[in-house]
């Protein structure tokens, strides 16, 4: 392996997009650091009641 | 032994009178035809019936009988200890039982009341029961009881035999039990014994004459069990059979049962239920193996038991009283008379 790159990724933001990006990366062979400014991950989606158009619960 | 005349006008009153000391069973008609049932206090036995769909065997051997009980509540001292279920063995009388059904009970008794083993449930019920038979003046076309060692006026197994004389019943009181029952009814108009016996004989002959159906059983005794067992005709006999249990359930001499435990909350009961050799479950082992796995084997078993094994074991004739119920009820018309004939006439080809 003569690459100078590092096999890890920093994901900034623990909202739905950041979380899923982190999961995909981790599941495809990269070490992931998920960085979130707030005290918990989840972002805005976790605060929603239902989601359109299926009215599924956002939690 | 004595004869009593019962005016039909007094009949119902007498029957009602006996209810004080006897629990009554008898023929009643409901939406599905005539049944022998426990009679409610306001129900009279129907004394003008041709035949009941099922036999009278259930008076002593109910289709489902609770035999043992136990508590599953561990707070009870005797939990998990089986005890005999309470049964009502106060005197009972079955009114209007047909003579062939009474004879059948005598055959069944050979199974439930033996030297080695006495079935307490059946025997206690038997002891408690008075059998008040009703002779058959006009036997039906399927009645072949005369060729099976009984007949329309057979007294075997009865305590009283009633003959319907239009406006009255002539009762032949055969046993002390019968006498007690007649007394309980207040039937006490004694008839001349000799005259009455003559009347009975005439009526019996008239009735027997109308019986056109019969089976030949004379050669069965001499057959070798294995020859019959291996006979080739069983496949044909069994083809149409759908293996329902109808023949065995309507049969007055079929006595097989199955034991089942049923738990309801903290109470457990052990029941015995009618079983049938027609069902594949009848002989299925816990391992899954079934020695009578094929339909043909089961059909053969039924006829071999009735017509050969029983005959050989008890020496009391075949295990069939000729009531004709199975012939009538079989959905596919497997006729015991024909099977009996086939067996009787079968000669093993060398």
């Amino acid at each position: 392996m003569n690459s100078t790159k590092t096999g890890s990724v920093v994901v900034i933001g623990g909202g739905i997009s950041g979380m899923l990006s982190a999961l995909d990366l981790a599941n495809s062979g990269f070490y992931v650091y998920l960085v979130e400014k707030g005290p918990s991950i989840g972002g805005v989606m976790a605060q929603l009641d239902k989601t359109f158009p299926t009215n599924d619960c956002a939690m | 032994m004595k004869f009593i005349t019962i005016d039909k006008k007094d009949w119902a009153k007498g029957i009602d009178k006996s209810r004080g000391t006897y629990q009554l069973f008898g023929p009643v008609t409901d939406i599905n035809g005539c049944q022998i049932k426990a009679l409610d206090a306001d129900v009279q036995p129907e004394m003008e019936y041709t035949d009941s769909v099922l036999s009278a065997k259930s008076v002593l051997f109910p289709q489902s009988e609770k035999i043992l009980v136990t508590s599953l509540n561990e707070a009870d001292d005797d939990h998990h200890i089986m005890k005999r279920a309470d049964g009502d063995y106060t005197p009972r009388a079955v009114i209007g039982i047909r003579p062939y059904d009474a004879r059948a009970i005598q055959l069944v008794k050979m199974n439930f009341d033996t030297e080695d083993y006495r079935d307490p449930y059946w025997c206690d019920a038997y002891e408690a029961t008075t059998f008040v038979g009703l002779a058959i003046n006009k036997p039906g076309p399927l009645d072949f009881s005369t060729s099976t060692g009984t007949g329309p006026f057979s007294e075997d197994g009865l305590d009283i035999l009633l003959a319907d004389m239009d406006d009255k019943f002539l009762a032949k009181v055969l046993t002390p039990k019968g006498e007690a029952y007649a007394a309980a009814c207040g039937f006490n108009t004694e008839a001349d014994a000799k005259e009455s016996q003559v009347l009975f004989d005439v009526m019996r002959k008239d009735a027997e004459k109308t019986i056109s159906s019969s089976v030949e059983t004379d050669k069965l005794k001499d057959k070798t069990i294995l020859d019959l067992y291996e006979a080739p005709f069983w496949d044909d006999v069994a083809f149409s059979c759908i293996n329902c249990g109808t023949c065995t359930y309507v049969c007055p001499t079929c006595w097989c049962f199955d034991i089942q435990d049923e738990n309801k909350l903290k109470a457990s009961s052990r029941f015995r239920n009618w079983d049938t050799c027609m069902s594949p479950l009848f002989t299925r082992h816990a391992t899954g193996h079934n020695p009578r796995g094929e339909k043909t084997m089961r059909v053969r078993q039924r006829f071999m038991h009735k017509l050969k094994y029983f005959l050989d074991k008890y020496d009391s004739g075949i295990m069939c009283v000729g009531c004709g119920r199975c012939v009538k009820s079989c959905p596919v018309n497997i006729d015991i008379r024909q099977v009996c004939e086939t067996m009787n006439n079968y000669e093993k080809k060398e």
Partner: protein, 316 residues
């Protein structure tokens, strides 16, 4: 009817002689009046035993599917053919191994009804067209067959076989009904208590001989749920709940599959009209899915498949 019987015998004899089938399943005369018995014929000579009449009330599909792997011919009236269709759909019979001798059905007679009318054991029974000549030991009556048809036959709209290789006799005219389920309507109109009472009385004399199940071509499971012991789904005694559970569950297992052939009622020794259960479900299959069982080998019954537009009004 006689020419029809003649043809059945000829065709059956022919098939056996040419070796096209191993066995022909049909009806033979019974040993008592109004009784017939399913038989399997394997020689041309024995084909003379075959008969057909208004007392061939059982369903021969029941026998056909038990001859797995053999080439067989079956005498089939409308109902039998519909159950053969069901058996083909449900992999019980291989169509290639089956030769169907179709018989346009004249309608089967109700033995219980005739016996009740005659008031005694039947000693003689003959058919002359639509007239039934019935005798007992001391009576003889001529009855109009149409008045003594079995209930399912009186409401039948598929007298002609729906699937056959040869048809014996001319097709008969199918009746058009305004309402195929007047009996179900009447029960549905009862109050809940009334319906319960109706079913309680209906099964009160059931002896659990399972003749209804065993006569039914739909009941081919190797082990029926009532016979299972691990788990034991249903108690085996005469407890009313257990008796009714048997009838209800059996009916549900037939939902969307029952052709109302009447074999169950025909077989019941107690004369219980077990069709009361199945017909309600037949009506529902008709109302909800526009489905009548056994008419096509190209489609499975509605409850065997899931479709997004299945009616689901019951989900609130």
């Amino acid at each position: 009817m006689d020419t029809c019987i003649q043809k059945i015998r000829e065709i059956a004899g022919d098939l056996l002689e040419k070796g096209e089938v191993e066995r022909v399943i049909g009806f033979a005369e019974g040993s008592i009046p109004m009784a017939t018995s399913p038989v399997a014929i394997s020689t041309k000579e024995d084909a003379q035993k075959l008969c057909f009449s208004s007392t061939c009330g059982l369903n021969l599909a029941n026998y056909a599917s038990k001859e797995k792997g053999k080439k067989i011919a079956v005498v089939a009236k409308g109902c039998d053919s519909r159950n053969l269709v069901t058996h083909i759909v449900e992999n019980q019979i291989d169509r290639d191994n089956l030769y169907i001798i179709g018989v346009p059905c004249p309608g089967m007679v109700d033995k219980f009804k005739i016996a009740a009318e005659m008031g005694g054991e039947i000693t003689g029974f003959e058919e002359a067209g639509d007239t039934l000549i019935v005798s007992t030991v001391d009576d003889k009556k001529e009855l109009n067959k149409q008045d003594y048809l079995r209930h399912n036959c009186s409401l039948c709209t598929h007298k002609n076989p729906v699937l056959f290789d040869v048809l014996v006799g001319e097709e008969v005219e199918e009746q058009q009904l305004d309402n195929a389920y007047p009996d179900v309507d009447a029960i549905e109109a009862l109050t809940a208590d009334g319906r319960w009472k109706h079913f309680e009385e209906l099964t009160q004399n059931c002896i659990r001989c399972y003749a209804c199940r065993n006569a039914c071509p739909l009941c081919y499971c190797p082990t029926c749920f009532v016979d299972e012991s691990g788990p034991q789904w249903v108690g085996k005694g005469q407890d009313k709940t257990d008796v009714d559970t048997f009838h209800f569950l059996r009916a549900f297992h037939c939902a969307g599959r029952c052709t109302d052939c009447g074999a169950c009622v025909e077989a019941c020794p107690m004369g219980i009209n077990v069709r009361d259960f199945t017909r309600k479900l037949n009506k529902d299959a008709q109302d909800m899915f526009g489905w009548e069982a056994g008419l096509t080998i190209d489609k499975r019954p509605p409850l065997d498949a899931y479709s997004p537009d299945d009616p689901n009004d019951f989900i609130k």
